[in-house]
Symmetry: C2
Subunit: 589 residues, 2 copies
């Protein structure tokens, strides 16, 4: 790995580039990216899903968040790359770092296709402030990278209306209403899950995410969709025609944008900087993609399917857990073999379309890395002792699932039991919240965090994220997290939104615990104070009671746990074998 | 009252004014205002501390918040004034209302001295959007108001450094550092509590608030203070001279502002629109007054005094409660007579400087009005039954106090007992919060609200507000409230900040319950996750256990209540008579 970095540094030195920025992004600011865009991994060796590398001719800094501190430290060459722990007191952000370090006439470079319009503008302002030069048309890593994989171009197919619940036309007319309200003549959309949602199409261009590379341009009268045309399925071609969608080639987007004039609405967080600059003759109206909040509120068809496919997912998970808990110590198992077994259980379910993210199967201290990925090198045998964390999910034609359970494989310490109990309690308390309409996730986050904060423990990530519908496993604008600032206030929670609830305890070198359910927001009651909302758990997977210290739960908390286990039993047991069902009955409390 | 409104409407009709805006404000955007500025009360009859009147030739609308719905309905002539319940679903804000109603060429008028620069600009934008005309130089109510009281001009005196804890020079240099950082040449300050804090001066121009009318203008080299010069005490004159403060007459501010050029930092929420417009030759840097967050974080001297004077305040309150609880039914009492008795107890305490707000003493259904004021007409005898809510506070030379207790005067219903218990529980749970530095009140608010929300009950106000130090009883930027938007995100909580914790239940026509402690934010522990903060109660006043249904509290909640009562007993009992002390001992649980 060191070779890639030193080669890059030699080039930067030669060309007099003071800082070169390598984000983790594709031209759509997707959260997960195709292998062909893994420039940061290529240079640093760090494989985590999020991180930014800043390279100077003599130094190198890697920013990543709390999920990846431990993993990054293991993967990078710390004698050449300095780890910058995002969100830790005293650690500057990339922008603050540039603001502190940039000197007059220094050049900061990047490829503008891989940073957002918003972020690029911020760098540009900082460069200007320090009389430095910002160049966003550089391709250093592209030039260095031999055998770079080509970008995926998989088939694009229709997501049937009986699953989507709403036609293109209905969705487009909502977008046009927002445009009219804002006074915009055009709307430019770069976010892949939003495009898939808007056109009721799905693809397979990003691992675990059924999206396809594309851009959409909507005017008051026309609808343009820029895609790899050859990928369109035979039925999708007439379907798009029928809905008056003008299909253009993906590569034609830049020349098309160059020709545009007038007022354009776009979201500068998902539009890339290159495209933002290309639209320089337009008046830009920067606002969050209306598609984001529209698709976050699931319609009735979607909700019905979410429930149906979560039942399937729960059956697969429960069958797997029965096998895991009864076979541990009896037959050989490793992190990778049990992941495989779980995937096989899911494959048996109807309309299974693949995993929704790489399964995290982490034994003992591995689980302290929130997003640990077991590979041949790190894989370990599982013994009848300690804890195993499995965070997994699937794509079904009518749902995206995401569930974490931590399993007690054998004896655990008192401390482990205490932390396991606290985590379950945190998850259950948030799931039980009743709150007035208007609340944001940032209002509710502390309900999950307080039991841990009271013990001086924190998890360095949000408590939960929005989830797509046969789309991205992480989707906004809803989330549970407590930090907020005026620029990134989290969304107001609305009935129909789906958010994960996944508090945890992570002790590096020791163990990690996480329990995660997906929660559907719905109305509880209306009265003179307004509309009260609550959550319904979509996830139907038993919690491993072997880790619970019931003396740490009060009556209400015991009841919440008992009710959840009962719900799972009632819904899942009819679909199990007699042995499995008998085992699940024992999970009642 | 109707006469005032109809006279105004006749004038508006004659002059072709479509809408006339009458806010509740003085030229400093003070929260509580001197009688001479009570234009809205003069026209509408509504005496609450907050509200905005919009008058058209034929209609009239009064906006007020949840604290005052019931009171406003009782005080206004609802056949001529429509009550607009701020914060209720579907009720537009004043600005939304104007946006909905303004038509081309209509005139909307007001006196720009009484609206903030920020608000005035918003009205101006809405007027422009609808091609209407906004005139901020009108004085309709001033012309109508015969016998309008003259503005208060009381003495201005030094707040001794042994109480202030920090000199003018130290404070000014902090302000200048902010100015330098922001690149501002001047700083214009209109907020009265901030001016009093900055100059270590106090006055008595606003009832219950030791401030004086003034403006400050700080440059890199000079300090101007605009006040009613004749009010300066004999010691204050040389004191200001010694600190190089240039004293100018209050009335000279407009001509002074007209002459200014360059970059001026100001807070458009507390600067009035007239002054903002007067500075049209300057480049305005609008940002929250730095004085606000500086004065919110109490220094060590202030904290020591806060504790000392809260002990005094607790002694006065406890003596009063002993009298109330033992004498009720024995001797005649009314809302007003017990308020008087409480005030007398406080007057006996050292360095007592008056009430910090008009005592709210509300029996039975009166307490459903959050800010009920008992007057000759509404005053009622107290009987040994039902509940009495008393929200009161004092100004001491070294503290501002604010405490609410609800007293059980005799038999109460099961429902009353349940709600009383829930309110105490809410207050105690928030006071017990442990949280990571960086949290805002909006993150914590739900801790107090959740026990009530779970029952479908809400209180239509924040859970608590910041409190000044021998200054305003309501001071920002800290608060506990859950609603937030990008423009008004509440402040991050910092050690040294003081905030009230006052959840409640208000059932119109039935009863009202509130329990309020003042909480000091302080550090709890530092570890690898960051700095954890917690609260220490400043208020030392027993909670009336007669309302508690212990079956509704879990073990932890019982312990919190027990610990609080013990703390009060330990600190207060040494200062009581034997009888009082014996009674307080019975309040332990």
């Amino acid at each position: 790995m060191k070779t890639n970095l030193s080669e890059l540094q030699a080039s930067l030195n030669e060309d007099g580039i003071a800082y070169y920025l390598i984000p983790t992004a594709d031209p759509h600011q997707s959260e997960y990216i195709d292998d062909s865009f893994k420039f940061r991994e290529y240079i640093s060796g760090f494989t985590g899903s999020a991180g930014t590398l800043v390279v100077s001719p003599k130094s190198c800094w890697l920013w990543t968040d709390g999920r990846y501190y431990t993993q990054a430290e293991e993967q990078i060459d710390t004698s050449h790359i300095q780890l910058m722990k995002q969100g830790t007191d005293g650690v500057p952000t990339v922008l603050e770092f540039l603001d502190e370090h940039l000197e007059p006439e220094q050049i900061i470079g990047t490829n503008g296709k891989y940073i957002s319009e918003d972020y690029g503008k911020k760098i540009s302002r900082i460069a200007k402030k320090h009389k430095a030069v910002f160049r966003a048309n550089m391709h250093y890593v592209e030039k260095l990278w031999i055998n770079r994989p080509s970008t995926t171009k998989n088939p694009i197919y229709i997501h049937d209306i009986s699953y989507a619940g709403e036609t293109i036309d209905e969705k487009i007319s909502k977008i046009r209403a927002v445009m009219e309200q804002a006074g915009a003549q055009s709307y430019f959309l770069s976010a892949l899950p939003d495009i898939a949602w808007l056109f009721n199409l799905r693809g397979d261009d990003i691992k675990c995410t059924p999206v396809f590379y594309g851009y959409a341009w909507i005017t008051e009268e026309k609808i343009y969709l820029f895609i790899h045309e050859n990928c369109l399925s035979a039925t999708a071609i007439p379907y798009l025609k029928e809905h008056q969608v003008i299909v253009m080639n993906y590569e034609e987007i830049v020349p098309f944008l160059e020709k545009q004039r007038g007022t354009v609405m776009l979201d500068s967080r998902s539009t890339n900087y290159l495209h933002g600059q290309t639209l320089f003759k337009c008046k830009i109206m920067d606002q969050p993609n209306p598609t984001e909040s529209l698709k976050a509120v699931k319609n009735e068809t979607e909700i019905a399917n979410l429930k149906k496919y979560h039942l399937y997912d729960g059956i697969a998970m429960t069958k797997f857990i029965y096998w895991l808990k009864t076979q541990i110590g009896q037959i050989p198992m490793t992190e990778r073999s049990v992941s495989q077994r779980l995937e096989e259980e899911r494959q048996k379910q109807p309309d299974y379309m693949g995993l929704s993210f790489d399964t995290i199967c982490a034994y003992k201290e591995h689980a302290a890395m929130m997003h640990y990925q077991s590979d041949e090198e790190s894989d370990v045998p599982l013994e009848p002792e300690g804890m195993l964390l499995i965070d997994s999910g699937a794509q079904y034609y009518g749902a995206t699932t995401d569930v974490t359970r931590t399993f007690i494989l054998g004896p655990i310490s008192e401390e482990e039991k205490k932390h396991y109990t606290l985590v379950c309690k945190s998850m259950l308390l948030l799931a039980d919240a009743k709150f007035l309409a208007g609340c944001r996730g940032s209002n509710l986050d502390i309900i999950a965090r307080e039991p841990l904060w009271a013990e001086g423990i924190d998890y360095r990530c949000g408590t939960g994220h929005g989830v797509g519908y046969f789309l991205g496993v992480h989707e906004g604008p809803n989330a549970f997290r407590w930090r907020s600032n005026p620029e990134s206030l989290d969304a107001v929670l609305r009935p129909g939104m789906v958010t994960t609830d996944e508090p945890g305890v992570y002790l590096p070198g020791k163990y990690g615990i996480r329990t995660e359910n997906m929660l559907l927001c719905k109305e509880q009651r209306q009265n003179e104070y307004g509309s009260f909302l609550e959550f319904e758990p979509l996830t139907l997977v038993p919690i491993d009671l072997d880790g619970i210290d019931f003396t740490l739960l009060n009556e209400k908390e015991k009841q919440l746990l008992s009710e959840y286990q009962q719900l799972v039993y009632d819904r899942i047991s009819p679909h199990l074998t007699q042995d499995e069902s008998a085992w699940l009955f024992e999970q009642l409390c």
